[in-house]
């Protein structure tokens, strides 16, 4: 996305022309996200899983739950960790090798939204204080890239967590031992929903697709919880926002987030 070809410049002027008429390149309204389809339980070997399709962007998230040692200063809490990867088959520009800064940012923004919302009650995931806790790992892979990986990844991970089950372990001789065929629901407190908006010129658009994504001036991801409060922010892109634009974005993130939350509740059968 660093090489600015003549095609990109033409695309940008086309997109901007359309926005001036109140239209988008794929005929959506400015505040309209692409259709979201969530399939749950797509990976039976995982402790929870989901495939999220936002337009043509597709991400599969799988949850693995396993006993772990707690972080040194967090002996009374379980472990939660998010990762993300853009698979080489997802886009011609995707490469194998160590993760690039944009992929690291993706994983950290998704992680932050879920962690800061307190979605998972980690205090209920302790086997033995300071010694043994339950770790919940949400690993997401991008299988098809058509822009806005932040939200797609977040929806996939949230849906996977909502439908995940935690196996039972008992401490025997200082080590956790699995109790077969016993599992419980993951302790959920709220459903965090991220909404990513882009700015092109003076226009704010919700859920930019890849064509739009590549000519954004700036973007912002706002995550809200089920109470409609804001729990995480991440601004990106090579330009900024005015205060008024940021207030508008926060309102959009709440109204759009509510609709997305309903889609995820419906797909997962979880209501919080």
């Amino acid at each position: 996305m660093t090489d600015i070809s003549i095609i990109d410049k033409l695309k940008r002027s086309k997109i901007l022309d359309l926005l001036q008429e109140g239209k988008r390149i794929d005929d959506r309204a400015l505040d309209e996200p692409r259709p979201l389809v969530i399939d749950i339980g797509v990976i039976p070997h995982a402790n929870g899983s989901a495939r999220a399709r936002l337009g043509d962007t597709e991400i599969v998230a799988g949850i693995k739950v396993q006993p772990d040692r707690p972080f040194p200063d967090m002996g009374e809490k379980g472990i939660f960790m998010c990762t993300a990867e853009i698979l080489p088959l997802a886009h011609p520009s995707a490469e194998t090798g160590p993760p690039q800064p944009d992929v690291i940012e993706l994983a950290r923004v998704v992680d932050r939204g879920i962690r800061e919302s307190g979605m998972i009650d980690l205090s209920q995931m302790v086997l033995e204080k300071d010694k043994s806790v339950i770790g919940l790992f949400a690993d997401s892979v991008v299988t098809d890239h058509d822009g806005n990986l932040f939200d797609t990844c977040s929806y996939a991970a949230v849906a996977a967590i909502l439908t995940s089950k935690i196996p039972k372990w008992e401490i025997k001789d200082d080590a956790p031992v699995l109790v077969e065929d016993q599992e419980s629901d993951t302790p959920i407190t709220t459903i965090p929903i991220s909404v990513t908006m882009g700015r092109i010129g003076e226009f704010i658009i919700v859920d930019p697709n890849l064509d739009e994504w590549e000519c954004l001036d700036a973007r912002i991801t706002i995550t809200t919880n089920s109470d409609g409060n804001i729990v995480a922010l991440q601004k990106g892109g090579f330009d900024g926002f005015s205060l008024e634009q940021l207030v508008k974005c926060s309102e959009l993130s709440i109204s759009v987030g509510k609709k997305i939350r309903d889609v995820i509740k419906e797909a997962t059968g979880v209501s919080k």
């Binding site: 944009d102 940012e105 919880n225 995480a232 990106g236 900024g240 005015s242």
Partner: protein, 245 residues
Amino acid sequence: MGGREANVVLLDENGIRSDGRKVNETRKVTIKAGVLKNANGSAYIEFGGNKILAGVFGPRDVHPKHMSNPDTGILRVRYHMEPFSVGERKKPAPSRREIEISKVIKEALEPAVMLENFPRTAVDVFLEVLQADGGTRCAALDAASVALADAGIPMKDMVCACAAGKAADALILDVNNEEDQAGQADMPIGYMPNLGKITLLQLDGVLTPDEYKKCIELGLEGCKQVYEIQKNALREKYFSSSDNS
């Protein structure tokens, strides 16, 4: 937020914070421009207990070459913490956190720098955190902006930064390490004061929509205070009465 120290008093009955500040008060900030001999521009900032060095090189040749852009110069930023800068030793290699912070600081500076006249070159900004005390990304961004100006890089505006947040149910300016650990929200903000543009914005923690707006406004007040200190740092180097050659 996962603070374990629930017994820390973040705000006493008189509205005074754990380090003696009022809710709308920043820590002491001092900035010195031009502190390194070899760098084209440099700055040193002390922001409360944060001690950060910024060095700028360029515009200069780009290595590796494929990163160069025939249309414009490119900006590269490395934010790095020394192993001794925090309580427990930090591994020297860049962590995922540092890579992300490098990226957001770069994106906060990009709207300000004008590199179109330096095609196929790079401007490198190195930010070394010698001591960390909460709010390093804002302090590093403040120093970076002064160092870029010191290097003579054309800029549309300075970028100043300060965090706001929430602790003990009150909105507070310039979140310190203790408040970050045990508080309710931390919102670093980067701002171009003359253009009125917010170029860095992140949030950890829960805010109502009303608090969100007030928190940004409070943070911008801090940014403007830092801006004055940044200007003074440059003034001191370039316009002070004593001879500066």
